[in-house]
Symmetry: C2
Subunit: 445 residues, 2 copies
């Protein structure tokens, strides 16, 4: 084959949300954590990254486009992932097209990468987990690397710590590992997404998140999307906006007197309990551990100098709503967890609890009058139907939750909700129409 060919692979990778948190590195270059963590993989139908990687003898340098815009690959995190995958590349042969690349050729060939997120503006939601996981997974498939997903997770980890947990579906544990080179710091699947399939996840995306998005992007986070601010209030303090999770984590390790106690004495026990809760589908224990660990993560952030606040008054109100409801029911209906941002991730025991939760959330946080319900509750809209809500009039007519007296409503304080569920791990997309690069030019379509 004499004319310049382009060989491509397209993959889709989910985001994940930690239920036992990763916060603090013992090695900043290799991205080795101070404790194990456990996450739920979110359904890629609602939140995922799609990445196409291509190789061609005509490419003169490695290039990458993120949501259609070219970005620099010079950052250490990208370079680490590219180097590690190239080191594991093997021979490939496409007899039909007459393409053959031998193991040693990969060092000389350049790649093009295009990545796209299917979810709306929402930095802080997925951070860079899905992005780096997808980059590493797609490159590994392109280069015919023989490593399994756990081994690939140790590479994705060097792009972004939590990315390693996006290499599997269901519930995933990141073992912190012991060895110095980080080769045992990798993800394993605890159970797959079918094991506890009736969980429903509702994410409340805060206005603040939308606003802080531009900063997140500048901080070399993986995702970007167009900046769009709904409503008029801006409740962001500059300090909050500027604390990327990388910086925050570093400052916590340097200054918090509580972090090491958490990492060494508390998390190891919680990991054992959490694995057991998940395996036994013990929601009461799962919810207790999830909420406690989220709160403790934010506690060590607060114990940092200067203190880091990721949660805001809206986050506090959502916690209060869930705590009161769980208490009034006698047994937990919903668990909450917050990452490095104010967005609540709410995990409901089942569809019934999720529908009730959505009613309560829409009571407290109705959309602004210029917002369509259709663009206010995203993802799996069947939960909205279960909740008996068809339009904004139904939202206005919602009664206050019975466990609260004189409940106030905070119109416009939430930007939108996403309903989703536990989901599968990375997959290859064989349909060429889903590729983000042109098979002829290797440039974005």
């Amino acid at each position: 084959m004499s004319e310049p060919w382009v060989k491509m692979v397209t993959a889709q990778t989910p985001t994940n949300i930690a239920v036992i948190k990763y916060w603090g590195k013992r090695d900043e270059t290799l991205i080795l954590p101070v404790n194990d963590s456990i996450s739920i993989t979110l359904d890629p139908a609602h939140l995922c990254t799609t990445t196409t990687v291509a190789v061609s003898p005509s490419f003169v340098q490695d290039r990458m486009w993120l949501n259609g815009k070219e970005i620099s690959l010079s950052g250490g995190r990208y370079q680490n992932c590219l180097r590690e995958i190239r080191a594991r590349a093997c021979d490939i042969e496409d007899k039909e097209r007459g393409i053959k690349i031998s193991k040693k050729d990969w060092e000389k060939l350049h790649v093009h990468i295009a990545s796209y997120n299917n979810f709306p503006t929402a930095a802080g939601l997925a951070s860079s987990a899905a992005g780096f996981a997808c980059l590493v997974f797609a490159l590994a498939k392109l280069m015919n690397a023989k490593e399994d997903n756990s081994e690939l997770s140790a590479i994705a980890r060097q792009g972004s710590g939590s990315a390693c947990r996006s290499l599997f579906g269901g519930f995933v544990k990141w073992n912190m590992g012991k060895v110095e080179d980080g080769s045992d710091s990798l993800a394993i699947q605890v159970v797959d997404e079918k094991h506890w399939h009736d969980l429903v996840i509702i994410i409340a995306v805060d206005l603040q998140t939308i606003h802080s998005f531009a900063i997140s992007w500048r901080n070399n986070s993986f995702f970007c999307d167009k900046l769009e601010i709904r409503g008029q209030r801006c409740i962001v303090s500059s300090r909050e906006k500027e604390t990327s999770s990388t910086t925050g984590m570093h400052e916590t390790v340097e200054t918090s007197l509580l972090l090491q106690h958490r990492a060494k004495e508390i998390v190891p026990k919680r990991i054992v309990q959490m694995e057991m809760s998940i395996k036994n589908r013990d929601f009461a224990s799962f919810a207790h551990l999830t909420c406690a660990d989220s709160n403790q993560f934010h506690a060590v952030c607060l114990d940092t100098c200067p203190p880091i606040f990721y949660m805001n008054d809206t986050s506090h109100r959502i916690i209060s709503c869930v705590e009161k409801w769980n208490r009034s029911e006698g047994t937990p209906q919903v668990a909450y967890t917050f990452d490095a941002g104010p967005n609540a991730v709410l995990i409901a025991h089942n569809r019934k609890a999720a529908a009730q939760l959505l009613q309560k959330l829409l009571f407290y946080f109705p959309p602004n009058s210029d917002t369509q319900l259709n663009s206010y509750v995203l993802g799996d809209k069947s939960i909205l139907k279960d909740a008996g809500i068809e339009d904004l009039k139904d939202v206005e007519a919602l009664p206050p939750p019975s466990e609260i007296k004189d409940a106030a409503r905070y119109k416009g304080d939430v930007s939108y909700f996403i309903c989703t569920r536990p989901g599968r791990g990375p997959v290859l997309l064989s349909d060429e129409s889903q590729a983000l690069l042109s098979p002829e030019t290797g440039l974005p379509k």
Copy 2:
């Protein structure tokens, strides 16, 4: 003297703010803490309690009036203080009026108590510290108890833990003590109020505080005053309102996995460092410890199940403002600390720093347009003059702090500011016109 006489004593006692926090009891009845704490006594000219106690053979029962309204003395905390002081009563004799009470008579005589706070609506500011300190101090003087202020502090402690620190001026340490009966859990003076006299303290009273006041009163806190809500926004979550410090502290001891580590491993070292910082007037070290300990106290609150949030977005914004300024100056100008509520207590290195701080605070938190500057900045108004601010036009014209770009303004989010300084301990008021009870009837004037 045959006609029924009334013998009275009037005392004035300051509030205090902890710079190394008290949070968690090892004995709930005796109110014995899990760690030492250190506080600054605030100038009683701006924040204090005045209490008149009276005894008369004509009184048929112990009675108490708080800000003019009779309240019940049946609570265990009042009963403990009354019992302990009566047990220490000695003979008194007023030859001029022909009054003589022997040690054993005190058990049979009843007292009237009237208490009044000189500061405006501000629950959560002083909590019950000044109140119980003043009650115990005044009763001790009336009953001629021979105990010194440290010994009295161990009695006031049984009314409200932090009350023990209001028995001295300047900087005060509450030794947690070791013995089971609590007799060595008492306050001592670290240095008096003249030692570090150029410190200036500015308190930002949050709207939320005003609103949550009614709850605080129901929770048997010492203070009450008329409820007045300025502005329209109510940013209180119900959960926040309901967590009195007694309840919150109990829940933290029961559920936080970080509290014991803080109490045993961290606070003892901080106490030593804080005493040294105060003695050496080392503001950089003082500010660092004060801010870190406030943040850690709120961190263990967050680590409580269910989590306790005392700080809100306004608190976070004030911290951010101080942290940025301190950083831009290279050396701390101001320390911040927050008790069980959202009110910021800001300690400025000197008058110059305080004037600059007030400018920044008024930039971020200008008063609502219907508020007079005179009722927005209370206490020592000379700081306002130093800041070059004479009226609301000067507030409007304030430039954004140079360390911040595009700083937003949060009009109406602060209810008012109080400017004060370190102050003296309890004193007797000999001027009878200041008594709150009538010398004839023993009832409120």
